[in-house]
């Protein structure tokens, strides 16, 4: 009898197949599939010991990038040069490394403690209403659009999100950059250049997307010890349940970034998060500098691993308010793909592989308003 019930459950699960085979049966006839087949078979011909003829060849990594861009409907096909022959130095372009000056600054834990004190008394985010508004500028190596010329473009994405308590809202992402100038003691954020101009708008809860409720920040303790534990618990809306391969401190860092990316953080919680962050192992003071949109920052960092190799993870703060204004990941060691003889990511290390600048946050009453 139990078996009957269990069989029925499997049947019901089968009914919930999100992608029935019938919906993709003819997918092998699509241009994407045919292009992929040609790329794969073309890749094989580069593996012969004789020097290949002077035609474009696609490495494995480029096949993946091409497949992704083809699927996204973007311009496909890029040239990287025959694998294994190291002709030219056609590495993927990555953003310049930021420079910091540590002179006169104390150890990272003290820096964060001082920032926490400032964050606690800083003014709250502007505006009012039911939506948390956040504006970020981000660039991710994996998502970089590639074009002819053997390099990827460094075109960041500006993303505005409006999210309400129940997870409804929308996001608008546009290719472009922002610049920030100080006007009367405040940062004035302006979009100064759009690149491809491509815009993606998403309304949460439509077209298969989920509504992910905002985390109730009132629930979080402001005591760093208790908060430190709470940042490891998945209450359904923080980023992840802790994975086996994630140390606790990495899980906390991930969740702190997640909060800044989606929500308005009140001053007392900002301070508490800084105090939690100050306990990250191996944290060092990087120093003072400017971020990618021109703001003065003070930075701390720690060694991590990213893409399966040593990396540096850096946090950038507004020195006056203690607000987290940016995050960067930099791979610091090369990892060679034995099949191609090139770095897996096709970068020259040290290389920035992602960055995020948190540009503005506040509250609004409509998903087309800004605080």
């Amino acid at each position: 009898m139990n078996t009957d019930i269990e069989d029925r459950l499997i049947e019901l699960l089968a009914q919930r197949n999100p992608v029935p085979l019938s919906t993709v049966e003819s997918s092998v006839r699509t241009p994407e599939a045919e292009r992929l087949l040609r790329h794969i078979l073309g890749d094989s011909r580069t593996r012969s010991t004789a020097p290949p003829p002077p035609r474009t060849r696609i490495t494995r990594r480029r096949v993946l990038a091409v497949a992704a861009t083809v699927a996204a409907g973007a311009i496909a096909l890029e040239v990287i040069g025959p694998p294994g022959l190291h002709r030219g130095t056609a590495y993927a372009a990555t953003p310049e490394l930021l420079r910091f000056d540590p002179a006169g600054l104390p150890a990272a834990r003290t820096v964060l403690a001082q920032l926490a004190d400032r964050a606690e008394v800083a003014p709250p985010a502007p505006g009012g209403g039911i939506y948390d508004y956040v504006l970020t500028q981000g660039w991710y190596l994996n998502s970089a659009v590639t074009r002819k010329g053997a390099t990827s473009t460094i075109e960041p994405t500006l993303t505005e999100t409006w999210t309400s308590r129940d997870g409804s809202g929308r996001s608008v992402a546009v290719q472009g950059e922002a610049a920030v100038t100080r006007v009367g003691g405040r940062n004035d954020v302006r979009i100064v250049r759009t690149g491809s101009g491509r815009t993606d708008t998403l309304t949460f809860g439509e077209n298969g997307t989920q509504r992910i409720p905002l985390v109730d920040l009132g629930r979080f303790s402001r005591d760093p010890k208790a908060l430190s534990k709470e940042l490891l618990i998945n209450n359904g809306t923080l980023t992840y349940r802790k994975a086996d391969d994630n140390p606790d401190w990495l899980q906390r860092v991930t969740n702190i970034r997640e909060l800044y990316r989606r929500q308005v953080i009140p001053p007392d919680l900002r301070a508490a998060l800084l105090r939690v962050l100050s306990e990250t192992p191996g944290l060092v003071t990087l120093g003072r500098g400017h971020d990618r949109v021109g703001r003065r920052v003070v930075a701390v960092g720690f060694q991590s691993s990213s893409y399966g190799r040593p990396a540096a993870s850096n946090f950038l703060f507004d020195p006056d308010t203690g607000v987290l204004v940016g995050y960067e990941e930099i791979v610091t060691a090369t990892r060679i793909n034995p099949d191609t003889g090139r770095d897996y990511l096709n970068v020259q290390t040290p290389a920035v592989v992602e960055y995020e600048a948190y540009l503005a946050a506040g509250r609004t009453n409509a998903t087309n308003a800004r605080p």
């Binding site: 699960l13 089968a14 085979l21 989920q210 997640e258 893409y307 992602e354």
Partner: protein, 176 residues
């Protein structure tokens, strides 16, 4: 080389759709396409060792590619946004007009409470319609192990539905 190419073309033609469906059930575009590309690339490089029944082997390659993709995306924190499109628990994508919608909803809810290992095996059986032996090949375990796991996973699922008590995941592996 010509024979290998012919063999690969046939493999691609016969199984591209199934591998794509496997990927799309677990990750959204454009990452699903990356998973498919990586799986077939590896298949081409191992063309000499394609088994007589290649589909479970291809699923295993896709599963590895998916794990790599998820690791990369997890580090970029983009996985969440993109998984929202096609996740096993994304009820927004279903257009189920069959009887027993409430019943199916309950099964989905219970599935979310299972550990990752249980979920993976049950989805292979239910969505990819694999026999236990083939699911074992995809997961890289023995048939006996897969049978035992399946038995326990089915029991856990049934118990969750009958008790409506949150289950402690057996594997401790995070869902994402």
């Amino acid at each position: 080389m010509a024979h290998n190419e012919e063999q690969f073309r046939a493999l691609y033609e016969d199984h591209y759709a199934q591998v794509l469906a496997f990927a799309l059930r677990r990750i959204s575009q454009p990452y699903a396409q990356d998973v498919v590309a990586e799986a077939f690339l590896v298949a081409w490089r191992r063309i000499e060792s394609i088994p007589a029944e290649p589909l479970p082997w291809l699923y295993a390659l896709a599963r590895n590619a998916l794990a790599n993709q998820r690791r990369t995306l997890r580090r970029q924190d983009q996985l969440k946004a993109h998984m929202d499109g096609v996740t096993p628990h994304s009820s927004a994508i279903y257009r189920d007009h069959a009887d027993g919608i409430a019943e199916a909803d309950a099964v989905e809810t219970a599935m979310r409470r299972l550990g990752r290992r249980d979920q993976e095996l049950l989805y292979l059986i239910a969505w990819e319609d694999l026999k236990v032996a083939d699911a074992a090949e995809v997961l890289g375990c023995s048939v006996t192990t897969a049978k035992v796991r399946l038995y326990r996973a089915r029991r856990r699922l049934a118990k969750l539905l009958s008790d409506d008590v949150p289950e402690v995941p057996n594997s401790g592996v995070a869902r994402r």
